[in-house]
C-alpha cells in the first residue's frame, strides 16, 4: 500500500512530466477532447431529434386536408370522422387558423407571406388523434375514403423515419466515438511510453533503493488520468458553450421546436464525458505500463 501523503509527490512528479513533454500532452488532451466532443454532439443530436419525434407523435397522428366545401358539409364530415371507431379526438383547423399558424411559424414576419394575404391558399383540415398508435393507419385509410377529403397525411411514417434517423445518428456517433476513443487511448499510451522513457534513469534508481511496483506506477497512472480528465473538461466546456449558443439561436428562429433543456441534461453529459475521458486516460496508461515498465 502506498501512503496517502505520498500522493502529493506523485502529483508533483506527474505534473513535471506533463510539462516536460508539452507537445505530447497537448496532442493527447486534444484527441481525447475531440473524441468526446464527437460523442457529445451526436448524443445531443440524437436526444433532441428523439424528443422532437416524440413531441410530434403526441401532437398529431393523422391530418386530413379537405376540399373546399360549405360549412355544414364540413360539420357533417366531422361527425363522420368522429364516428370511426378508435378516433379519440378530432380538431377542425379552419383556413383562418391555418393561416395564423403559418404566420406564427414564420415568427409573425409577414414579408415571407406577402402577396398571399388577399387570398388564403391554405386548406381546411381535421387533426385526428387515435386512441392508440396501432389504430392510426386504419383510421387514416378510412378517413381517406370519405368524400370531401382531399388528402390524408399520415404522420406516423414521418415519425418512424425520424426515429430511424435518430438511431442512425446514435450508431454513427457510437462508432465514431469508439474509433476516436481508441485513437485517443493509443496516443495517451504513447505519451506515457515517452514519459517512462524519459524517466528511465529515475525509475532504475527507484528500483535499486527499493521502490514498490505501485510506487513506480502511480505517477504514470495519474499522468494518463489527468490527460483524459483534462480532455473531458475541454470537450464538455466546448459542448456546453456550443449547446447554449445553439439553444439560444434555435429558440429565436424556431420557438416551436422542442429542445431538451440544457439543465440538468448537460451536467449529466459533462459528468459522463469526464468519466469516459478518465477511463480512456487510465486505460492508455495501463496499456503502456504493461508493455514498457516491467517492475
Amino acid at each position: 500500500m502506498v501512503k496517502a501523503r505520498t500522493f502529493g509527490y506523485f502529483f508533483k512528479s506527474s505534473g513535471r512530466s506533463l510539462a516536460r513533454n508539452s507537445w505530447m500532452t497537448i496532442a493527447s488532451i486534444s484527441t481525447v477532447a475531440i473524441s468526446l466532443l464527437v460523442l457529445g454532439v451526436f448524443l445531443l443530436l440524437a436526444v433532441n431529434v428523439g424528443v422532437a419525434a416524440q413531441h410530434m407523435e403526441s401532437q398529431i397522428e393523422v391530418t386530413a386536408y379537405l376540399l373546399d366545401m360549405p360549412r355544414d358539409h364540413v360539420q357533417r364530415l366531422e361527425q363522420q370522422v368522429r364516428s370511426i371507431s378508435g378516433v379519440s379526438e378530432v380538431y377542425h383547423v379552419s383556413k383562418d387558423e391555418a393561416w395564423e399558424r403559418l404566420l406564427e411559424w414564420y415568427g409573425n414576419d409577414r414579408t415571407f407571406l406577402a402577396g398571399w394575404e388577399e387570398e388564403n391558399p391554405l386548406r381546411e383540415s381535421f387533426e385526428i388523434r387515435a386512441e392508440s398508435p396501432e389504430l392510426v393507419s386504419e383510421i387514416a385509410g378510412r378517413v381517406a375514403g370519405l368524400s370531401g377529403v382531399e388528402e390524408v397525411v399520415f404522420g406516423r411514417e414521418l415519425i418512424e423515419q425520424i426515429l430511424a434517423i435518430t438511431s442512425a445518428i446514435r450508431m454513427v456517433g457510437t462508432g465514431l466515438m469508439i474509433g476516436l476513443a481508441l485513437a485517443a487511448m493509443f496516443i495517451i499510451a504513447n505519451t506515457i511510453r515517452i514519459a517512462v522513457f524519459s524517466r528511465r534513469r529515475e525509475i532504475s534508481i527507484m528500483r535499486y533503493v527499493g521502490a514498490t511496483k505501485w510506487f513506480i506506477r502511480w505517477p504514470f497512472i495519474i499522468e494518463g488520468w489527468v490527460l483524459g480528465l483534462i480532455g473531458g473538461v475541454v470537450a464538455s466546456s466546448i459542448l456546453a458553450w456550443g449547446y447554449y449558443l445553439a439553444v439560444r439561436y434555435l429558440l429565436r428562429v424556431m420557438p416551436f421546436w422542442p429542445l431538451i433543456a440544457p439543465w440538468p441534461f448537460l451536467q449529466q453529459l459533462a459528468l459522463g464525458m469526464l468519466g469516459i475521458g478518465s477511463l480512456i486516460g487510465i486505460a492508455g496508461s495501463a496499456l503502456s505500463l504493461r508493455r514498457y515498465l516491467n517492475v
Binding site: 502506498v2 501512503k3 501523503r5 505520498t6 509527490y9 534513469r201 529515475e202 532504475s204 534508481i205 527507484m206 528500483r207 535499486y208 533503493v209 527499493g210 521502490a211 514498490t212 511496483k213 510506487f215
Partner: protein, 226 residues
C-alpha cells in the same frame, strides 16, 4: 548475513557467468571481490540485488533464500541493501539533497525524518556545504560521495559497491574508500567489487577472486594477485 550455495548462472547462448559459487559473509565483514572483466563480478551483484535469479543454487540473506523471493517482496530486500555504482547514477537536475532524500521518499519515510537523516548522512560524507548544488557542479569524487550518502541513508545492513572508484583518480579513490571503511565501522557489511589493485593491497582485507565464473581464491587479509 550473506551466503551463496553452489550458485550457477548461465545465459542463453553465452558462457557460464557463475559456476557453483559458494561463499559466506558475516555481519560487519568487509570483502573485496576481484577478477578480470567477464569473471562474473557483475553477475554476482545482479544476483544479490535480485535483478536476476540464478540458474541453480541458493542465495541466503539474513537466512532467507532470496532466489525464492516473490516479486512483490523484492523491494523490501533492496531496502536492506545500499548500492553504489562506478557511474554514480545520480539525477542530474536534482540537488545533492534531493538526490539523497529521494531514496527515503521512495520508501515513504516521514518528511521530518527525511530532513533529519539527510542532514546526518550529508555530514558523514562531508557534503553539507554542497547540498544545494546539482551533480554537474561537483567533482567525480563528490558525486560518488552523494551516491554513497544515498546508499546508506536508509541504514542498510549490506552495502554493495560495484567498482566505486572505477571513474576516479587515485587520491579521490582513497577518500571514497575511507568513507566506505567508516560506513563498515558503523556496522554495515560491505561487499566491494573492484579493479583497484593498490587499494586491495593496502587494506589487506578478505579478498575473493573470481575467474571464469568460479571462486579461485578466498583469502583473509589477501592481496590483489594472490
Amino acid at each position: 548475513m550473506l551466503e551463496l550455495v553452489n550458485v550457477t548462472k548461465t545465459y542463453p547462448d553465452g558462457p557460464v557467468a557463475l559456476d557453483s559459487v559458494s561463499m559466506r559473509m558475516d555481519k560487519g565483514e568487509f570483502v573485496f571481490v576481484v577478477g578480470q572483466s567477464g569473471a562474473g563480478k557483475t553477475t554476482l551483484t545482479r544476483l544479490l540485488l535480485c535483478e536476476e535469479k540464478p540458474t541453480s543454487g541458493s542465495i541466503y540473506i539474513q537466512n532467507k533464500d532470496i532466489t525464492k523471493l516473490r516479486p512483490r517482496h523484492i523491494p523490501a530486500l533492496r531496502r536492506s541493501m545500499g548500492i553504489v555504482f562506478q557511474d554514480f547514477r545520480l539525477m542530474p537536475n536534482w540537488t545533492v539533497e534531493e538526490n539523497v532524500a529521494f531514496a527515503m521518499i521512495v520508501v515513504e519515510a516521514a518528511p521530518k525524518q527525511i530532513k533529519r537523516r539527510v542532514a546526518e548522512v550529508l555530514d558523514l560524507v562531508h557534503l553539507t556545504h554542497r547540498r544545494k548544488q546539482t551533480p554537474g557542479q561537483l567533482s567525480g569524487g563528490e558525486q560518488q560521495r552523494v551516491a554513497l550518502a544515498r546508499a546508506i541513508v536508509n541504514s542498510p545492513d549490506l552495502l554493495i559497491a560495484d567498482e566505486p572508484t572505477g571513474n576516479l583518480d587515485p587520491d579521490t579513490s582513497w577518500d571514497i574508500v575511507k568513507l566506505i571503511l567508516d560506513i563498515n565501522r558503523i556496522g554495515t557489511t560491505v561487499l566491494m567489487v573492484t579493479h583497484a589493485e593498490q587499494i586491495v593491497d593496502r587494506l589487506r582485507k578478505r579478498v575473493v577472486t573470481l575467474q571464469n565464473g568460479r571462486v579461485v581464491r578466498d583469502e583473509e587479509g589477501g592481496l590483489y594477485h594472490g
